[in-house]
Amino acid sequence: AGQAAAEGERYVLVSHAPDSDSWWNTIRNALALAGEQMGVEVEYRNPPTGDIADMARIIEQATASGPDGIITTLADFDVLSGPIRAAVDSGVDVIIMNSGTPEQAAEVGALMYVGQPEYDAGLAAGQRAARDGVTSFLCVNHVISNPVVAERCQGFADGLGVDLGDSMIDSGTDPSEIQNRVLAYLNANPDTDAILTLGPTSADPTILALESNGMAGDIYFGTFDLGDNIVQAIRDGVIEWGIDQQPFLQAYLPVVVLTNYHRYGVLPGNNINSGPGFITADGLELVEEFAGEFR
């Protein structure tokens, strides 16, 4: 961590995701790209097991290492607000990305919020599905113990105006188990209208599950976040829409904003909502090319 970069600014991005969460690769790639383009030094940090209490320590650590700015998620306001406030107070500029809400970001003293409030995204998706005539759904949650992601299901249920109840299953992360649990659920609840998956980890096996039980293209299927197989499935008509919260922007913009703020004192006046953007079969070219890498 030398301070040898062209202009010398150093920014640390702290996420709440465990090491292996593939969605965050886009973030890392965008972060690296922004660092390169702006000529600043960037670092990516995350708690290896996804434990948010460990994440608080990482924010404290980042603060101690004296960066110019910290970009962090606000996965659990109670846990993270203290360390983030301490960072702000000790002179580090903070931008909240991804999780949390604009109000919470303001409350901890962050410069701004860039992201897609999870609940709101779920709600928007639910409202859209309700318009398409959906009345019951299955939410495939591959990280049951992560409360942030579960907000999406809650929002979706509220958007539909139904009770979440038993609609959310704990699918585990093993693809074969996810596939078979989805099959089991659909078998036991054949009148399910829609499926909501919360990311590529649960979407990919669900696509296979639907292909194997013949419901592909038949059942209303929406997902969060993008990946190779999701894009292909959207093209094939298996998936209705994918909610793209554009992780690229969530990492890229804060670096750009912070750099410009530190160099020229300019700062956008508003928060930036990077999502929800609904990706459908139309206009998939670029999405397809960069899915999982920059999209």
Binding site: S22, D174, P175, S176, N180, A188, T201, G214, N229
Partner: protein, 370 residues
């Protein structure tokens, strides 16, 4: 001269029936019967026992079986391997990197991965043997190291931790179908024609039977169980496995090559993990850095439910396979029965406890252990 000779007045006789019943697999058999009875009573109308439902829990059980066979034989040989889960992730990622990133033919990627993973298994075994450390520690270290690399390599090379596109690469490959294919399709078409199994009613495959064929995963599971069972009970090497786990020193004294046996079992466990990973990668077409997390525990649990002794020297592959079946059926059955899915872990823990208590009782009767 003998206290235990037939007709000893100091030992009450055991009935012949009871004796015939008492086998290492008994716990597994009882458990399997109990589990099936339970779900037949409470989830019979949920589709759990129609063709699709059966295929569903069979596939999940087959997965567990593949790793349970390896874990079982290793456990009987007196060691265990916590790195199975990480090895699964590592093997899948290795195939993906070789075939997709480096563009090797898929068969070469698969064979290289097998060679690589089996060597890592051998290294685990070698360290355990040479340092005399408990395998818990050595393989715990391997768990962390392998998982670390599984995340590090794709991230550094491909800038992502899920690598897809393996199915495209595998198109036309001669080796890939052995792991990812299906067999017996005509049988199912015929069964569907007879009306014995359902056909799809809607969607783009309407009219086709709901089951394509038997996935190779299941074939592998059955083959490995049979192989493991024969090796263990019918061969010289099997006797050595029991001996190495029962008392390594005693086995060494009478000339059993204990070190070789143990290292080979570590390699076999790695082999099973790699089979698991390869089937998964070939079926799903992608490899992720988080594949296989906690699978080491699931393998150990299946083996222990199946009656093996954690400390080695006792157990049966058939038992482990039944353990895997119980595990798979309970897991999927709870979904069919509509039980709140977070309670699955609670059930798992409870079943584990009951199974080992039952097994301990059976084992004491068989071996006269005190």
């Amino acid at each position: 001269m003998s206290d235990t000779a037939t007709g000893d007045e100091r030992v009450k006789e055991m009935s012949g029936f009871r004796k015939a019943l008492i086998r290492p697999e008994l716990g597994g058999i009882v458990g399997t019967v109990a589990v099936f009875t339970f779900f037949l009573l409470f989830a019979a109308d949920s589709g759990m026992f129609n063709a699709q439902g059966i295929m569903n829990w069979s596939t999940v059980s087959a997965q567990f079986m593949i790793i349970a066979v390896g874990a079982c034989m290793l456990m009987i040989a007196g060691e265990f391997d916590l790195s199975v889960g990480s090895m699964i992730g590592f093997a899948g990622m290795s195939i993906a990197i070789f075939s997709v990133t480096l563009g090797w033919p898929v068969w070469m990627a698969i064979l290289t991965t097998f060679a690589l993973c089996i060597s890592i298994g051998a290294l685990n075994g070698y360290i355990v043997i040479k340092t005399g450390l408990p395998s818990f520690i050595v393989t715990l270290a391997a768990l962390f190291i392998l998982r670390g690399f599984t995340i590090f390599f794709p991230q550094t090379i491909e800038r992502r931790t899920i690598i897809g596109g393996i199915d495209d690469a595998a198109e036309g490959d001669w080796l890939a179908p052995i792991f990812g294919g299906e067999i017996g399709q005509p049988i199912f078409v015929w069964l569907a024609d007879l009306g014995l199994i359902d056909v799809f009613e809607r969607g783009n495959r309407a009219g086709e039977p709901v089951i394509d064929g038997i996935p190779m995963l299941i074939v592998w599971a059955i083959a490995l169980v049979i192989f493991g069972h024969i090796v263990l009970t019918r061969t010289r090497f099997g006797n050595w496995i029991f001996a190495a786990g029962g008392d390594a020193q005693a086995a060494r004294y009478v000339g059993v090559p204990v070190n070789r046996v143990k290292i080979l079992m570590f390699m076999f466990t790695a082999f099973c993990a790699t089979v698991f990973a390869t089937c998964q990668v070939m079926e799903f077409g992608s490899a992720g850095a988080d594949r296989g997390v906690l699978k080491e525990f699931e393998a150990i649990i299946a083996v222990v439910i199946g009656g093996a002794l954690l400390t080695g020297g006792y157990g049966s592959v058939v038992g482990a396979a039944l353990g895997a079946l119980i595990f798979g059926v309970v897991q999927q059955g709870l979904f069919f029965a509509g039980v709140e899915s977070s309670l699955f872990r609670v059930f798992l823990g409870v079943i584990l406890l009951f199974a080992v208590i039952l097994n301990t009782y059976i084992r004491r009767i068989i071996t006269g252990e005190r």
